[in-house]
Amino acid sequence: MSAHSHKEIDFQIMWNRLIAVVGEQAQVLIRTAFSPIVRECEDISAGIFDLKGRMIAQAVTGTPGHVNSMAESVGHFLRHFPISTMKEGDAYITNDPWMGTGHLNDFVITTPAFHKGRLVGLFSCTSHLMDIGGLGNGPEATDVFMEGLSIPMLKLIDQGQVNETLMAMIRANTRLPVDTEGDTYSLAACNDVGVRALCDMMDEFRLDTLDPLADFIIERSRQAVLDKIAALPQGTWSHEMTIDGYNAPLTLKAKLTVSEGRVSVSYDGSPPTVGRGINVPMAYTRAYTVFGLACAISPDVPNNAGSLAPYHVEAPADSVLNAPRPAPVSSRHVIGQMLPDMVFGCLRTPLPDRVPAEGTSCLWNIAVRGQWFPKGSDTSQTYALAITTNGGTGARPGLNGLSATAFPSGVHGTPIEIAEIQCPLIFWEKELRENSGGLGQTKGGDGQIMRIGTTQKQPFELLAAFDRVDHPARGALGGQDGAAGRVETASGRKLAGKGLQVLKPDEVLVLMTPGGGGLGEV
């Protein structure tokens, strides 16, 4: 009994410590990042993996799309860089959408952790870089090659030596060379800090391997999720939702089955890939689906290989939710972030008290680009930034939806003053859009109204990737729909919800983000 007791208590303490270690890793990434969407909005994730590639702890920050797809990504790194070839001081990189987190703008860096000369685990992290060349971070491209620089699985750092050839390639293929290189360094640095903290922990607990601890964490978490699943009614439920798509609506279909020890979601019947970059690679589809399941079923179980294991997701090959290479995928978040609503739609029948009505769900990132003359400079410079904004979330059982709040994404909005210091745009308005949340027993959250112009004489480009413009967030259980989003100019020129559009210097862009759906009859 005593040996059992000690192991139990020690493992619990080390588990806590490991979560603190990845928390530190994530903080370093946020504090040192250049990309505003990372440093102001925390669009990142960070985690530690065992030598089998199983995620054992993840920082309690970041975004679900990153987190769960990064969990898969490490398996791909291990295929390309077998354990036996890893050296102390190495770091590996990719931005391959099918081996990373779903689009080229996310760099994933994996670093082997050595303790006293022995490989004991892997740190991985990912963040969203502002520009990676190509057509830019919008859905315009018709294949992935047009979306920018593709970095296959490569060694970024070889036993402490930075791969200068690769760095030069990266710098040469982005509109923002300094920021992009800086962000690459900050990704590598945060893993280094993770390794340092892990070594301290292993010294303190006199460990020479993480394996028993990893088994304990994974088994405990898996069992916790299984217990939650066992408490659910068994059965199969389905849900459909029509969204705007690129230039024609798409009807997503899901079927969710709760059975002994597993929950599976199938997107059978969902439409085929489309010609523009809103397609979703499978890892990203899985990431947001599992996130929706975790919110509804096991919100208090930490994310790791064990807690993810009982959840299964499939989507038909070549569908928009399982897009193959070389489909364009740059704005995969637009559809990906709708998937928790699909999960909630399925679960509304068995669990009406746990799930919200549909919300805005996809981020309303205002991706803009152009030339300007910053203060004190007489040469024109390129700016390219994404200003993160949100609509309302769906009404919740017993609670109204949240106004102007990201869900399911975990990012923060961009401060207007920070956006304006980096580009010539000026926001004339950013306010709550009153009464845009759907009515019901509980109301959907309100969206926002924004009016954006420029202070200079150059036009600017909008890389639109907005949804719920033609198809609003629907109310549920008798609640009313939220207001649809709107994209236009102040003079009434209607703009497309998706695609590259140019605004003249005297035009003012008007964006109204959608309201969330209401819940229950008024």
């Binding site: 806590n16 530190e24 370093v28 250049f34 303190e204 096991s298 709040t405 207007i416 950013k430 009016r451």
Partner: protein, 696 residues
């Protein structure tokens, strides 16, 4: 050195008790009285009356009175502040409500955000607009301002916050609106963002300005009444308020910027530790303050507590980052977690032992109080392990019931995990110590400090029982439990300097565009303003000015603070500034970034008097073995057996008394646990010093 003729008085209003400390040439006297929430000045005056009487003195004898209070914090948490209006830039009525657009808990579908201090119907806007460079893009519409006057009057507004976009870059519009409104509404207090918090990022700046306006009438009223009450008793000395940054400020400045008084109590604790650090001659210190519901840790390097410019008040999910209202003010940076004697332990979905943040408080209290508490608290674990003598708890005022601790521990922890009551207690003790060690580790990591090189100074009711284990986990060689630890905050107040820190956003790159003239003008202006706020009150004391720059690589969002040299900053200094920045950057983040440009975002000027100096603590005379009293049984989790634990009475121990852990040092209010890894002795000033035994 302390002016030996001075009679200094300090008072700290806490939630339950008001602590009063009187420092006279003859020594230090302390008093604890109950806080009187409806009229807090009453409790203060009562406490002062008592302690002055104890000393055989009169009010006119007191030269300085230093005062700290949680009134501002409580007013915000309990939403008891003034009826406040917010005036913003047209088109930006909802900055407070839109906030960061994020959820502080990723997986919680039911989370609730804190409600803003100003509801929508009291949020107004006027046409005006500055751009990021401080250029007027839309002139202020003065008629629109005038048109607000009747609305503000009808709404019975008591206080107004004005926060315009980019006002940190050009305050002209805010100043003009204040002038117009002050004339029309002379009884209303007005706060403007360019004075309260002239820093970029509209949400934090607005939130800080609104909080200032919200507590202003209340604090002004309280401070006015206190001053009157003191005057009526014949007090003629100087009155200072303690700020969250650990400095003192005069009444008038406190009235103008009351938001800076939030969190002054914990700041006092950190100053207390800093003062002890100096008297001990320790340069690197970790202060560890553990009470009934929370534990706070703070790093103190070279006698100075770590400082920060960000703080969250009223976190809706206790201690969860992002769930509170952000304040951008100078604060002593500390990490606070829900770990105290009353913190409740339970199992989570993974059957992991979780301690806190929920607390048993004083009612019903831990299970062993026998007052109806059924759930195991940290104190129950301490009792079960044998660390607390049930018959002597809190000076014998509560008779503890160990069998109730055992029952609660078994029911909630032991039975589901297959552990004995003792082993469950061990788990709770270990987890709570790990949580605190972890908080210290994170805090150190954020500051780039090596924790094991620090000396721990532990105070607060529950600290002495847990400090040794936390210190072991952190690899700390020496820890000190000072005397007077119970009223540490108030004692700390006595040592604080009069000071004021100003910070302004003014981006400037370290390249050819660096304008020495603009920077000099800015720094001179700020220095003058800060001097103005300190000078009158500092009387004849010498003032110290410290200037620093908040630097980062161009494009980054977080800054590193670098101290500026004295005199004008010219382009000759740029390479030295870059080198200083990169040295600090590499220390914190492992790698510097080649090719990247460096900029200064914010400039800071801090003006202060010299902190009160106290003589060093007396070293212990020749060490001699202390006389042990009773023997208690301690459950040793590592071996799973009970071991003998000698108990020493602190009152029986003289300077130089030495003991070898494991042992307990008992006194009236608290008990110190000396773990087997440490030796302990009393120094010449009555502090308990624990030194790690030589590594085996």
């Amino acid at each position: 050195m302390v002016d030996s003729t001075q009679i200094r008085l300090a008072a700290d209003i806490g939630g339950t008790f008001t602590d009063v400390v009187l420092q006279t040439p003859q020594g230090r006297l302390t008093r604890k009285v109950l806080t009187t929430p409806s009229a807090p000045e009453q409790g203060v005056m009562d406490g002062i009356g008592l302690v002055i009487q104890d000393a055989g003195l009169q009010f006119p004898d007191v030269t300085v009175f230093v005062h700290g209070t949680t009134l501002a914090t409580n007013a915000i948490i309990e939403r008891r502040g003034a009826r406040t209006a917010l005036i913003g830039t047209q088109g930006f009525r909802d900055i407070l409500e839109i906030g960061t657009e994020s959820r502080f808990n990723q997986y919680d579908l039911m989370l609730q955000k804190p409600s803003p201090l100003v509801p929508r119907d009291l949020r107004f806007t006027v046409p005006e607009r500055m751009d990021a460079r401080g250029t007027v893009q839309l002139p202020l519409d003065e008629q629109a301002v005038q048109a607000l006057v009747p609305q503000l009057r009808d709404a019975c507004v008591e206080s107004i916050a004005i926060a315009f976009l980019h006002a940190y870059a050009n305050p002209a519009h805010e100043q003009r609106v204040r002038a117009l409104l002050q004339e029309a509404l002379p009884d209303v207090t007005i706060s403007i963002s360019s004075e309260v918090c002239p820093e970029i990022r509209e949400y934090e700046r607005t939130s800080t300005t609104v909080a200032n306006a919200y507590v202003q009438p209340l604090m002004a009223g309280y401070l006015g009444r206190l001053r009157e009450a003191l005057n009526a008793k014949g007090f003629q000395g100087a009155l200072y308020l303690v700020t969250s940054g650990g400095g003192l400020t005069a009444l008038e400045t406190a009235r103008q910027f009351p938001v800076r008084l939030v969190e002054s109590g914990p700041a006092g604790g950190a100053i207390f530790a800093a003062q002890c650090a100096e008297r001990l001659g320790e340069n690197r210190v970790l202060s560890f303050d553990m009470g009934g519901t929370t534990a706070k840790v703070c790093l103190i390097e070279d006698g100075e507590p770590a400082s920060s410019r960000f703080f969250e008040v009223d976190r809706t999910a206790r201690f969860m980052k992002g769930s509170g209202l952000p304040l951008r003010i100078p604060v002593i940076e500390m990490v606070e977690i829900g770990a105290g004697g009353g913190s409740i332990a339970h199992l989570d979905a993974m059957k992991r032992v979780v301690v806190g943040p929920e607390s048993a408080s004083s009612v019903p209290g831990p299970a062993c109080y026998g007052l109806g508490g059924k759930r195991p608290a940290v104190t129950d674990a301490d009792v079960m392990l044998g660390l607390i003598r049930p018959e002597n708890f809190a000076g014998g005022s509560i008779q503890l019931q160990p069998d109730r601790s055992a029952e609660a521990l078994l029911t909630d922890i032991g039975t589901p995990l297959g552990l004995s009551a003792e082993m469950s207690a061990h788990a709770v003790y270990e987890i709570v110590c790990e949580n605190m060690a972890s908080a210290a580790r994170v805090h150190a990591a954020e500051r780039g400090a090596v924790i094991g090189e620090h000396t721990m100074i532990a105070f607060g009711g529950a600290a002495p029982l847990h400090a040794a284990r936390v210190a072991e986990k952190l690899g700390i060689q020496r820890l000190v439990i000072p005397s007077n630890a119970g009223v540490g905050s108030a004692v700390g107040f006595l040592a604080a300097p009069v000071s004021f820190e100003l910070v302004r956003s003014f981006p400037m790159r370290l390249d050819d565009s660096f304008s020495s003239e603009e920077v000099s003008a800015l720094l001179d202006d700020m220095t003058q303003a800060a001097h103005g706020l300190v000078q009158d009150d500092a009387r004849t004391e010498t003032l110290h000015t410290r200037r620093s720059a908040f630097m980062r690589y161009v494009g980054q969002g977080h800054e590193i603070i670098v101290t500026l040299p004295e005199g004008a900053i010219s382009s000759d200094h740029l390479s030295a500034l870059r080198a200083a920045f990169e040295a600090e950057y590499a220390r914190q983040f492992a790698r510097v970034i080649p090719h990247a440009a460096v900029e200064i975002l914010n400039w800071s000027v801090s003006v202060s008097t010299t902190p009160q100096k106290y003589p060093p603590f007396k070293a212990a005379p020749a060490l001699h073995d202390a006389k042990s009293g009773d023997i208690r049984k301690l459950f040793d989790g590592a071996t799973g057996t009970h071991v003998d634990l000698p108990v020493y009475e602190r009152t029986d121990m003289g300077p130089g008394s030495r003991i070898s852990g494991p042992a307990l040092i008992a006194e009236k209010e608290t008990t110190t646990y000396v773990s087997s890894r440490y030796n302990a002795h009393l120094d010449g000033s009555g502090n308990i010093i624990l030194d790690m035994k030589d590594a085996v």
